[in-house]
């Protein structure tokens, strides 16, 4: 199981501003290890953000995203005290889902 994400969600005017740090190796599949063997690709493929039962962000990622990725976005319609849920699935089928409570601006 991957380490938990670090999520900060707060009001910025009438929008919710979300910052997420994910813990993931994000292997490109091009790197070789010490013995010269290729390290298999291992990366987050799909990211989904939901709020109040609605998907507010959906992203398809690839190998060009850095290790331990950081994502920053805003969406409309959230209020302090409500929850934002972020989940990812990687190319090996591993998944992680975390949620955060929106704090006041």
């Amino acid at each position: 199981m991957a380490d938990p994400m670090r999520i900060r969600a707060s009001m910025a005017g009438d929008k919710v501003e979300v910052r997420v740090l994910m813990s993931h190796e994000m292997e490109t599949g091009l790197r070789k290890d010490a013995s010269g063997a290729l390290v298999p690709a291992h990366f987050i493929q799909n990211v989904t953000v939901t709020h109040a039962g609605k998907t507010v962000l959906s992203a398809q990622w690839g190998t060009s995203i850095s290790k331990n990725p950081f994502m920053h976005f805003r969406f409309k319609g959230g209020k302090p005290g409500e929850k934002v849920t972020i989940s990812w699935v990687d190319n090996k089928g591993e998944r992680r889902s975390d949620e955060a409570v929106i704090s006041g601006g």
């Binding site: 380490d3 938990p4 740090l21 331990n68």
Partner: protein, 271 residues
């Protein structure tokens, strides 16, 4: 007819025309790097290491099934806040000067009963092989964020470590005839785009020494001050700097003197 002179004259003209552009470009590059760092700083992945370090700190582990919560980092058993701001320092129980990492090793050995060789087996992580030491160091350092560095320099052994560190800093050796001072003795030096701090100048030292441990984007991991020294020694082609060795701590005591009263911004974020 001095035909052969013409290309030279043309070249001088071209140089004169491009020089201001190069300077402007360099300033722009510097600004862009600053901007890039600011963008990165909003999402410092060192946060992830701090979180893992906190978990490791609080979880009972080792043969004694104990957590590290009773670890004495210099301000008494279990005091975390501000402890990092007063390291390295002399510890009476071990009768030596210790830095953060060597003290963490001591606690893992005495409190948790972990074998000393095991406690120092994996100090620097590699992809797929995370290091507990990097996570623990990040967590403890983060507990002193915003405080001013005040590493003591009073005890006889602290003073001795300072003198040893001073010798090591200035003494050139190895196949490249290098010393720390070769790179860190002048203001305004850099390797490619990486500025080199003058470590004996408080202005530089206060800004740099206080940002370790730091997440290194190029390495995808938090690196500690011990790793910085290990890498510097490798770059100088000196014999390997052993983890938490007396020599490494002496150099830290030396650097801390000039960095004292700088604000701790650890764990930081670096290229």
């Amino acid at each position: 007819m001095p035909f052969h002179r013409l290309p030279a004259a043309v070249l001088v003209g071209v140089l004169a025309a491009t020089l201001p552009c190069i300077c402007a470009a360099q300033q722009d590059t510097q600004k862009e790097i600053e901007r890039y760092r600011q963008l990165l700083a909003e999402g410092n992945p060192a946060d992830l290491f701090e979180a893992r370090g906190e978990e490791l700190w609080k979880t009972p582990r080792g043969p004694k099934k104990a957590s590290l919560e009773q670890c004495d980092l210099g301000l008494g058993a279990g005091v975390l806040k501000g402890a990092f701001a007063q390291l390295p320092r002399y510890f009476a129980d071990t009768d030596r000067v210790q830095d953060l990492e060597s003290r963490l090793v001591t606690c893992r050995v005495t409190l948790q009963g972990i074998d000393p060789a095991e406690a120092t087996r994996n100090p620097f992580s590699a992809p797929g092989r995370p290091s507990d030491m990097e996570a623990l160091a990040s967590f403890v350092a983060g507990q002193s964020r915003g405080m001013k560095l005040a590493a003591p320099l009073r005890h006889e052994k602290e003073l001795e470590a300072f003198r040893v560190g001073e010798q090591l800093f200035y003494r050139r050796a190895g196949p490249h005839d290098f010393a720390c001072v070769s790179c860190h003795g002048e203001n305004g030096k850099r390797i490619r785009l990486q500025e080199l701090p003058k470590l004996t100048d408080p202005h530089d030292a206060q800004k740099i020494f206080t940002t370790w441990p730091a997440y290194r984007v190029s390495q995808g991991s938090v690196r500690t001050m011990q790793h910085r020294l290990y890498d510097c020694y490798w770059q100088m082609r000196h014999p390997q700097m052993d983890y938490t060795s007396e020599a490494s701590i002496a150099l830290e005591v030396f650097m801390a003197k000039y960095a004292n009263s700088g604000e701790i911004q650890a764990p930081g974020l670096k290229r």
